[in-house]
């Protein structure tokens, strides 16, 4: 299950980065994409590979 979770996190990270790229001129979207990336930092921290 953890492998699937990590795979999904990778997909989310790519999407959030893409969102940021698309929203270069939209502070609101860019900031919220940043928040997703912050939560992904936490999510990766709490699902470490052993």
């Amino acid at each position: 299950m953890m492998d699937e979770i990590r795979k999904e996190l990778k997909t989310l990270e790519e999407s959030a980065e893409r969102l940021k790229e698309l929203a270069k001129n939209n502070n609101a979207v860019k900031k919220n994409a940043d928040i997703i990336l912050t939560q992904l930092y936490i999510l990766k921290f709490i699902t470490p590979v052993v």
Binding site: M2, D34, T38, Y41, I42, I46, T47, P48, V50
Partner: protein, 436 residues
């Protein structure tokens, strides 16, 4: 579900330790690259030198005094050389209480704050806080971190939070009743003060309906924890943390020591004499901490100066994290009086366990000629006076001698003489260095 994160909370020890070592290496590299303090402090050590867990000892301890030094007149204001991110990323200012000297200013970014909150969720969840709880926080949080952490973590795990600042104690009691709050987090001292005030208002603290209390901001000796449970008819839990390191250990429902929040923190418990060897189970050690994912304020091997008894690596709750069985006190609170080591915590244990009639107390140590004198100033419940008060004073003197090997004077003070504390209580006054 009994765990906040069943994956990390039940990992086998060797796996947890491997993760923590890998996180430590990451944090070492990050701190060295991004914090002026560690660029300087680690100038003779490279990441290649940290190959095994034993190599962690090559990294020097960080002391609070250093943190102060690296902030004083050092840019960028006010965080100085401790900042681990560009200052534009800082979104919240916090500071230490300044109990032991000049406060340390602590920068939090959105990321570091979320990391702290996630760690705190473990503390609340293992203490049984759930979405059904309406949590009353009886403080104005101000610039201090603990209750902000409790607030945000409780929100995250689904509790309903009532911020109880800007009210006096009576107002808070009325608000608890009005909103039917059923959980609380507070300094142990203030939880007991609230109960005393409730009694004076004619309200039995047990009728308030508080089911769970988390102690914060002060040590919580077992006797005090039990007194709070008896007073409110609730479950009371302890945790430990600091502004510099975050909350790093909490009590589960088994109430047998504090679980370290792993793998958020690498906690070393080192012998008091040489600070070089991990102590064995049942022994006292100094707590040294590295938060492993907080980048706004990297701190490696922070010597907390707190002393704890090492617990077992297992618990009936099933968590595999290491445990601290008991927080003994701060290294600098343990004093030599007439040649005997004295910890104020022993007096707190004694008062809370055996003297329900003492509502407030303080310990004053002075030097009379060449002799150290201890005086316990006590306030008793208002209805107690005359022979009953004298009897309490006599018993306290006797029990103090047995518990500490030191004779003391006991002075019964009129009601309302001693200070009442909402945040960190300061009941120990060693005046020997002040008055010469």
């Amino acid at each position: 579900m009994n765990y906040w994160n069943p994956y990390t909370e039940t990992l086998p020890r060797e796996k947890l330790e491997a993760i923590e070592f890998s996180y430590f290496q990451n944090m070492f590299s990050y701190a060295k690259a991004n914090s002026n303090l560690y660029r300087d402090k680690l100038s003779g050590i490279e990441i290649g030198d940290i190959k095994t867990k034993e190599d962690i000892k090559k990294v020097p301890f960080t002391y609070k005094e250093e943190l102060r030094k690296w902030q004083e007149n050092v840019e960028p204001f006010p965080y100085g050389g401790l900042l681990g991110v560009p200052i534009e990323e800082v979104c919240t200012f916090r500071q230490t209480s300044g109990t032991t000297g000049k406060p340390v200013y602590v920068p939090e970014t959105y990321e570091s704050w979320q990391w702290r909150i996630e760690s705190w969720c473990h503390i609340l969840y293992m203490a049984g806080f759930r979405p059904r709880h309406r949590l009353f926080l009886p403080f104005g949080y101000n610039i201090y971190v603990a209750f902000w952490e409790a607030h945000y973590a409780a929100e995250k795990l689904g509790c309903e939070v009532i911020p109880g600042g800007a009210l006096d104690t009576k107002g808070r009691i009325n608000k608890i009743i009005e909103l039917r709050a059923n959980a609380m987090a507070g300094t142990p001292t203030y939880c007991l003060n609230i109960a005393q005030e409730a009694r004076e208002m004619g309200i039995d603290p047990r009728s308030l309906g508080i089911e769970r209390i988390l102690g914060a901001g002060e040590p919580l000796p077992e006797a005090t924890r039990r007194r709070i449970e008896d007073t409110y008819g609730c479950h009371c839990f302890d945790h430990i943390g600091s502004t510099e390191t975050c909350g790093f250990a909490g009590m589960c429902e088994a109430k047998e020591g504090l679980h370290i929040i792993e793998p958020f923190f690498l906690v070393e418990l080192l012998d008091r004499e040489t600070l070089s060897q991990e102590v064995a189970e049942g022994e006292q050690g100094v707590i040294v901490i590295t938060p492993l994912g907080r980048r706004s304020f990297p701190v490696l091997r922070f010597n907390t100066m707190d002393v704890a008894i090492k617990g077992p690596d297992s618990c009936s709750c099933g968590r595999t994290s290491r445990k601290l069985m008991e927080i003994v006190g701060r290294v600098d609170d343990i004093r030599k009086i007439r040649g005997v080591l004295f910890s104020p915590k022993t007096v707190e244990q004694l008062v809370r366990a055996e003297f329900p009639e003492i509502v407030e107390y303080e310990i004053v140590v002075v030097r009379e000629g060449i002799m150290d004198e201890i005086t316990l100033r006590c306030e008793l419940t208002p209805q107690l006076n005359g022979a009953a008060a004298e009897d309490a004073a006599r018993r306290l003197k006797e029990r103090h001698k047995i518990k500490t090997n030191l004779t003391c004077n006991v002075k019964i003070e009129p009601t309302g003489t001693l200070p009442r504390f909402a945040l960190k209580a300061k009941r120990f006054h060693d005046m020997r260095e002040v008055i010469k």
